[in-house]
Symmetry: C2
Subunit: 321 residues, 2 copies
Amino acid sequence: MEFTTEYFGSLVEQALENIDYPTTAPKLFDPIKYTLSGGGKRLRPSLLLAAFSALSHKNPQEAMNQALGIEMFHNFTLLHDDVMDKADIRRGRPTVHRRWNENAAILSGDAMLTMSCQLIACCAGDKLQDLLSIFNTTAMEVYEGQQLDMEFERRNDVAVSEYLEMIRLKTSVLLACSCAIGALMAGAGRDVVKAFYDYGINLGLAFQLRDDWLDTYGDPAIFGKEIGGDIVNRKKTWLLINGLSEAGEELGGIISENLDDRELIAQVVRVYDRLNLGERCCLLAERFSKTAIDALENVELNHNAREFFIQLALKAANRSH
Amino acid sequence: MEFTTEYFGSLVEQALENIDYPTTAPKLFDPIKYTLSGGGKRLRPSLLLAAFSALSHKNPQEAMNQALGIEMFHNFTLLHDDVMDKADIRRGRPTVHRRWNENAAILSGDAMLTMSCQLIACCAGDKLQDLLSIFNTTAMEVYEGQQLDMEFERRNDVAVSEYLEMIRLKTSVLLACSCAIGALMAGAGRDVVKAFYDYGINLGLAFQLRDDWLDTYGDPAIFGKEIGGDIVNRKKTWLLINGLSEAGEELGGIISENLDDRELIAQVVRVYDRLNLGERCCLLAERFSKTAIDALENVELNHNAREFFIQLALKAANRSH
């Protein structure tokens, strides 16, 4: 067995194509199939299968329902978030509420959430109560993260600690839940499940901070999109929140002026650079990446498995796209 | 112990007030508390507690988490349906998306769906797999019912059998699921669970057909709202669907004219009356009510319990409001 995200991702891709949908109201499922066929890295289900495979010698297909449940849930959150954000494009294609309409996006999203519960609960036997408990708790945390994210958009006094808690909820807990469910499905004990959960939390924080950095400091040719979008949208990233806390009057003045995009980005980046925020953001991402790797230190893993989790954490904090 | 909907409803009402909500993002839960405090008959959780109490001597509180889960789910569907229907008023108060906004309604609704899963799964032990299976299957059917309902609004050729299947999915299965979960929690065997499920299906069909009848033929003083709303909205009720199938040209002509409301209602009712649709609708509701009662015939129940289910079924088909 290969131990790569490509391998696990290809297993997930195949399994997604073989999902059976009810036939009574087929139009309910068209937006779901569309959403799930949009690609993406399949990071969460791959993490789940990787944790499962690192801790057992069973066929990864035995944890596939749970992997699909996580991917279904993740795509449900994207679908409803896109409605809430009025986003037009997702992964290069029209979002569901643009291609169909808002009602289709709401109702099909609801169906995806219930389908994800069905998949998580499928064939899980004596592990069922633990799986549901972590899955449902995580789901609630993801909604809380989205709620805080929306509230932060209307506030100019968000503290760095509040921001880190928000991205922990909105992004990290689902990665952590994926790792923990993989470990649970492999029959791991409480300590090992906790270690994998902590790995996922720190991986998510590293990943999100690097994301914030890339949007301002990435190379557009490699990153694949224009840089500065977060600045133009006044998005409350780690960079902006720290900038507002350390040079609030100056930065607040710049972003409330009616500058054209290019000038706005240039002026904001000048402040960021003076405060050395780009480098500090990268350093913090690297620290979370290291904490992720350390979380698995005391877990017995073979070489390939450990390398998989180490390389993924390093990549989260150092990737260029 | 009393065996009345008022008694079970009051237990549910108390328990709803004692639900613990997470504290990280309190604003996420304001619309949920608002929705749940809006009253309503608490019919579904009362049915669940009644089935549980009819089949066991345990304290009904032992099935309360599942009862709350069902009520939470029902209110989640109302919340998202109100967004989809752009409804302004629910139970005499502004709907959540009017009082807050659409994003709050979507996200809080999602949280309600996950909370309902948590409640259903709470303390259910060895019954967990069965409970989740019927609950999740029912949830999917409710979405399919809502999908068909929205599709029917754009069609003029809906068959009566399609309509009955739609209301079975949109309304009946959740009543049936409530009864079945009550029986499952009481430790009932497969046949008894099935009997209670069938009771709920037929109760729901009787209830919905009487609802269709009341909107056109009810006494507004007792019914509590203006009659004819369904006709004005061209809603595909049992009456209109049968009318279109039996006097399609005439009725299609009337509802496509630009008549004022009072004249429209009068002309449509004249056609309904000629086809005897009001009486036929009531007779069908009574038939479903009788089938509901018959479903429990072979289940051993004490006098009070049986009377509860009989009277509820009779009331569904004969109520004036």
